[in-house]
């Protein structure tokens, strides 16, 4: 053989191997300096605290109307009231309290719809990726079908027909938003499936449900978190849009999308009425997206975006 390529090359330096941190340590080190991740995580945590402790934090009952006290300006306006820092809406309800309770609606719908769609999509994707063949064809077909359906329209129609309630909206969104989970989990499973430890597990005769659960799924966790954040944001923005159109969560529930909708008629005179819930939605979505991007950056460095 006229080949010297088996001579040692640069990468074999023992000292660099000994000194390099484990992937987990490296990810943790990157996470501590990842600004987007820290901001996203911080804002999201604040929102979660707000939602969990809404009854303690809200200064007023979000449902109590006070028609004598309508359209009070927020603290930076002219016609203010110290008892209503964010002012009041067209029914005289305290805006700050409604904003705080609104976090519950968004986060509940986002989280539960994400869990439902994540369960459906992950199951389909992992099965398709692991077994391939006919199952894969079927799942791919179902994904195509799902992508071909106009989600907003179908969600609106179904929610409207069955009477909008928090539960219905959540379940409908959960049943509609599984496509990205399925697509990503399918290709990720196809990759993991080829690795030696899966072959080893098969060789020792491990049953396939156990292989999927204990060998494959743990290796998909990063992807799951990233897609989970994306779909949570997706569900939140869809709920807001449905409620905004008046066909989602029904009044007087304090949903941010519904609040924007209710404030529409005042928007030229009191633009803060649409600005405050809009900004809250924006902040929540931004936080979730930053968190998702951050997790991806931290767990798979190299892909910068």
């Amino acid at each position: 053989m006229n080949d010297i390529s088996h001579a040692p090359s640069f990468g074999d330096d023992d000292s660099t191997i000994a000194n390099s941190p484990t992937p987990r340590q490296a990810a943790y080190a990157r996470a501590r300096t990842h600004i987007g991740l820290l901001i996203g995580g911080g804002v999201l945590l604040t929102m979660v605290v707000m939602a969990l402790f809404a009854p303690l934090l809200a200064p007023h009952d979000p449902y109590v109307q006070d028609l004598a006290n309508r359209l009070v300006d927020p603290f930076w306006g002219q016609k203010t009231n110290p008892a209503n820092p964010f002012g009041t809406d067209g029914f005289g309800r305290d805006y700050l309290s409604r904003i705080i309770y609104g976090a519950r609606v968004s986060l509940f719908i986002g989280a539960v719809a994400m869990l439902i769609s994540g369960f459906i999509g992950t199951t389909m994707g992992v099965l398709a990726g692991y077994f391939g063949g006919k199952i894969d064809h079927l799942v791919t077909f179902l994904i195509t079908v799902r992508l071909s359906m106009p989600v907003v329209l179908v969600a609106l129609a179904v929610v409207a027909m069955s009477g909008g309630s928090l539960g219905v909206v959540t379940v409908v969104l959960g049943l509609l938003l599984w496509d990205r989970f399925a697509v990503v989990m399918r290709s990720a499973t196809q990759q993991v499936r080829r690795l030696e430890f899966v072959t080893a597990a098969e060789a020792v005769g491990m049953a396939w449900p156990k292989i999927l659960w204990s060998e494959i799924l743990p290796n998909l966790a990063n992807h799951l978190i990233v897609i989970g954040t994306l779909e949570m944001a997706h569900a939140i923005v869809l709920e807001a849009a449905l409620s905004f159109l008046g066909l989602g969560v029904q009044p007087p529930t304090p949903s941010w999308g519904l609040m924007v909708s209710e404030a529409k008629s005042y928007m030229f005179f009191d633009p803060w009425l649409i600005t405050i819930p809009g900004v809250m939605l924006f902040l929540l979505l931004l936080a979730i997206n930053l968190l998702g991007d951050g997790v991806r950056d931290v767990t798979s460095p190299g892909e910068i975006w």
């Binding site: 079908v145 359906m149 329209l153 129609a157 179904v158 928007m267």
Partner: protein
Amino acid sequence: MGYFLKRLGLALLVALVVSVISFGALRISGDIATAIAGEGASSEDIEFTRKQHGLDRPLPIQYLDWLSHALQGDLGTSLYFRVPVAELIGDRLPISLALGCLALIFAVSLAVPLGVVAALKPNSIVDRLALWLAVVGQAMPTFWFALLMIVVFGAWLRWLPISGNESWKNFIMPAIALGYYATPAIMRLTRAGMIEVLGLDYIRTARAMGLRSGTVLFKHALRNAVIPVVSLTAVQFGFMLGGSIVIESIFSLHGAGHLAWISISRSDLPVVQGVVLVLALIYILLTLLADLLNAWLDPRLRIE
């Protein structure tokens, strides 16, 4: 050619399944007879309506009945407008398609150049700005963005009309509101694709042969980088048509989305079913076109 036929057959099957699911989902979630009979109708009235419209038959029979009519272009009659659904949709669809096309043009002409520029200098100021725009853009709910535009450009600055569809000016804000939401995804994919392609061996070959940087960038790199973007854009156009329901209702554009919205509020089920079917068909057609376009862009995809 065989590949194309296979692809076409699959598309038809998808359309069929979509129609089954949307028909089923809508029928299960509400009682159409109650809706037709109107508010305050007695239970006898409702039962009479049910029989009259053939709604007492088993659901599969109703579906086949609807399908056989739909295949002949008859999507039923609107319960509210009392005119054929196909006619209604035919009237309204051009507005939605125009809106969708404008939104797509806006999104692509913003996203692709930004993605390319960002890819040319990763981690530069332009790149970071583009990333920042993408993150912020993705967090902005469409309807809220639309309302902000109405307040700023319609009410304060009075540059643009805020509702109706009389002139092309009416389409500017809706198209931006609908299109910006697709921008981050297209930009990210363009950037990722360009970065990947620019690092490939054949780009180095092109440079080693002295080809001009413009030729290398546009002829050799962009064409290959844009292939996944084409598929994504088709998907995004589908989203836009679906999302036009929000935008059309905000800007009172009387397109198919607006029609769907008022029909949902009025439980005008035949119209809703018709719009869902037509939008799904358009989406399927678009993905088919995207596949053909990609086969033209990448000869490796031509032999399957």
